[in-house]
Amino acid sequence: MNAVDKTGNLSRRGFLHVTALAGGGMLLGARFPLDGARGAFAATADAATALNAFIRLTPDGIATIMAQNPEIGQGVKTMLPMLIAEELDIPWSQVRVEQADFDSTKYRGQMAGGSMATPMHYESMRRVGAAARAMLVEAAAKEWKTRPEKCTTEAGAVHFKNKSLSYGELASAAADIEPPNPRTVPLKDAKDFRIIGQEIPGVDNPQIVTGKPLFGIDVTVPGMKYAVFEKCRVHGGRVKSANLDAVKASPGVVDAFVVDSTAQAGSAAPSPSMFQVGLPNGIAIVGDSWWLVNEARSKLEVTWDEGSTASQSTESFDRQAEELSKQAPEQDLRNDGDAAGALASAAKTLEAAYQYPFLAHAPLEPQNTTAHFHDGGLEMWAPIQTPQFARGDLAKALGIPEDQITIHLTRMGGGFGRRLYWDYMLEAALIARQAGVPVKLVWNREDDTRFDYFRPGGYHYLQGGLDEAGNLTAWRDHFVSFGEGRRFAPSAEMMPNEFPQGFVPNFALQASKMPLGIPTGALRAPTSNAISFVVQSFIDELAVEAGKDPLQFRLDLLDSAPAGTRTAFDPGRMKAVLELVRDKSEWGKADLPEGTGQGVAFHFSHRGYFAEVVQATVSKEGELGVDRIWVAGDVGRQLVNPSNALNQVQGAALDGLGQALDQEITFDGGRTNESNFHNFKLLRIDQAPPVEVHWVMSDNQPTGLGEPALPPVPPALCNAIFAVTGKRIRSLPISKHDLIWA
């Protein structure tokens, strides 16, 4: 599609130029005819007018706002249009929201990940709305032969003296106005917000509660067949031979074949981004009914080349980590002061070994994609967090140009980072191409559990030193993780400036690595979801050793950064949330019954500051119940949608609780042992305590909320268990520990 400028010249270059200048999702400077032709601007009564790629106004005054980012349950389909509508100055009741397809020529940053939508788009989306508003005002001013500055807007209309024109009446005229410079278009003062800061329910709620088809798994295409894909249970294994004829004879099966993408031309290119997927290898079964093709899998007899990962297991990882912990670390990640010397001269020292397991993402909607090759291109409907990376990789793997691949973004039944990886899209495309018909690939739950890009496990061998006064003087962490050479496996790394770096004069972070053939990747609050457990638990141990209150010990530690130290985060903001959660939870003051205790932890990630207290009860027989979670958070001066903000924080906290209580993925012979929700246990409602959320509204840029409330929960819970039982939990999940006390 080409943009058409006011002089009628094709201005694709100009359009791209404007986009680049604006940064972060701007399209102003271009108006897009809805049907791709200039005629769409004609001022006919029923013509919809596109003021820019995000906003379409119809004469009835309804603004249809395109939601550009993929929706995984983080609320972005509601939140980004709220930002546009605010500055457009139109009542939310006159807004309709549509999901945009993936289109890198129109939109920037169409991705769900890293809690990035708010920091990336908080201002740019408002500028989209403000620019459209300015065009409407100018159109009205022209009509009234006055200056735009004399006009005001309110409730979807432009006003001047006693005159007013609705946005619907102005839509066609506004389309002929030169769009203003998005960088200089004025934005509202926060005190004038009418939509930002309001509790706006999710825009898809009416469809969700009535069961409308919204998700990838709900897509149907005429002539479509269903597919399943059987892979080697050993990660990285490959098909040698299979009884395809017997499978083809099964009821409902129309075809069965080996997919070996590495054998295909053009398929060996590396992935273009920080996210990488392997090339598919396995057996596709295609047929008339998903249930029948899935049933036909039981007829398969396959000889696999299992490959080298068959020698890897959880037990072998545990053993290697133990051995590596006794050797000199391979790599220094950070050295401040002299940790070894300070430990040797400390008044008190502590040593502890911590570990955490691999985890699956387990989004409730199993992986799926519908792929249709037609008219020389590939059209896909996919639940995908990273459509741009996916398309680039698919183009290389399939040997077709990127602009011949269309990706429709479906609502996603959860993401949690799993759908940063597009392995199932690649499978669906290869299967559809080989089958010669449109195909909907759907994984079953066993596929989904076994073939994840897992949160990697890890091992930390810690030493801490305290001086006579109980101040932390030394911290050493030998981190045993996965990877090869200098390179960590995906999401198996650790930031060198991870807390308490900068708050301890003598700090050493060192690493050793084990090779890993099992795919790993980002799980909600990647690295933080594991590191927080280790750091905030060991800090608790040190507080106890120092004879100090664990919360006060943390406040003192946050005060200890030497003047002028540049740390990863602002200790003042963290202290504020810690003090708030202390007060709200009545830390140290609440009269708790025997068997009930509180634990505290904080963590900084995704630009968010979170301190949390968990109150737990442990019976003398060792039965654990979680009574309540208090969360104090600081994500800046403005919550865009407080209803969704609360929902995200409560969900993230309970997600962390589920991980800590009972989740682990283990391997044997290179295979994933867990397969479904009976042995990979998600939190259920009878385990879910009330989560009470409080905010510090600091004067900082608004930042994201999908992730940062999760990491403090596992350590806060383990610290609460210690407070009751005197038992220190140094490995997860908690369900593996005997909590009997008396």
């Binding site: 509790e199 509660v209 069961g211 998700f215 039944g413 609360l646 969900g651 929700f677």
Partner: protein, 170 residues
């Protein structure tokens, strides 16, 4: 094999293998996509429908067992999305990803049909078979209480403790 049942109030006959789970008959034969596939083993409850008014996991129910029964899916829970549970779910803004919510709503509506004023304990017991991966459990509880209120006094406005949507929540 032809199997006849009542689906959302209408007589329906399907020709399907008798052992095919009702879930797949609903989704792929009858194109009712509201009932969701989550685990295929009745662990998660995403596929919950009503069979003669009782909640059932349709992923493990052979369609042959539907013969002569009255089946209600999320699409048939109300004409227009105005069942008290559907109203409460929107008012409390329960969904995050939304994938499990049809199953949650079917379990919740069955609970309220038998117990018009459930306690938190009743709710936890009746709803523990339905996983919400986004863990919207605080709001699911609040919304069931709210639905109970709506069912008893349809014009009642939301009471403060049930909204679960405030800037803080005690």
């Amino acid at each position: 094999m032809a199997i006849a049942f009542t689906l959302n109030g209408k007589s329906t006959t399907v020709d399907a293998p008798p052992e095919m789970p009702l879930l797949w008959v609903l989704r792929d034969e009858l194109d009712l996509k509201g009932t969701k596939f989550g685990c295929g083993r009745s662990f998660c409850g995403a596929c919950t429908v009503h069979v003669d008014g009782e909640p059932e996991r349709s992923c493990r129910m052979p369609v042959s067992r539907a013969e002569g029964k009255e089946i209600t899916t999320i699409e048939g829970l109300s004409e227009d999305g105005a069942h008290p549970v559907q109203l409460a779910w929107q008012e409390i803004d329960v969904p995050q990803c939304g994938y499990c919510q049809a199953g949650q709503i079917m379990s919740a509506s069955a609970l309220l049909a038998n117990n018009p004023a459930p306690t938190d304990g009743d709710i936890d017991e009746a709803m523990s078979g339905n996983i919400c991966r986004c863990a919207t459990y605080n709001r699911i509880r609040a919304a069931i209480h709210r639905a109970a209120d709506i069912a008893q006094a349809p014009s009642a406005t939301s009471h403060e403790t049930a909204t679960g949507a405030g800037g803080s929540e005690a």
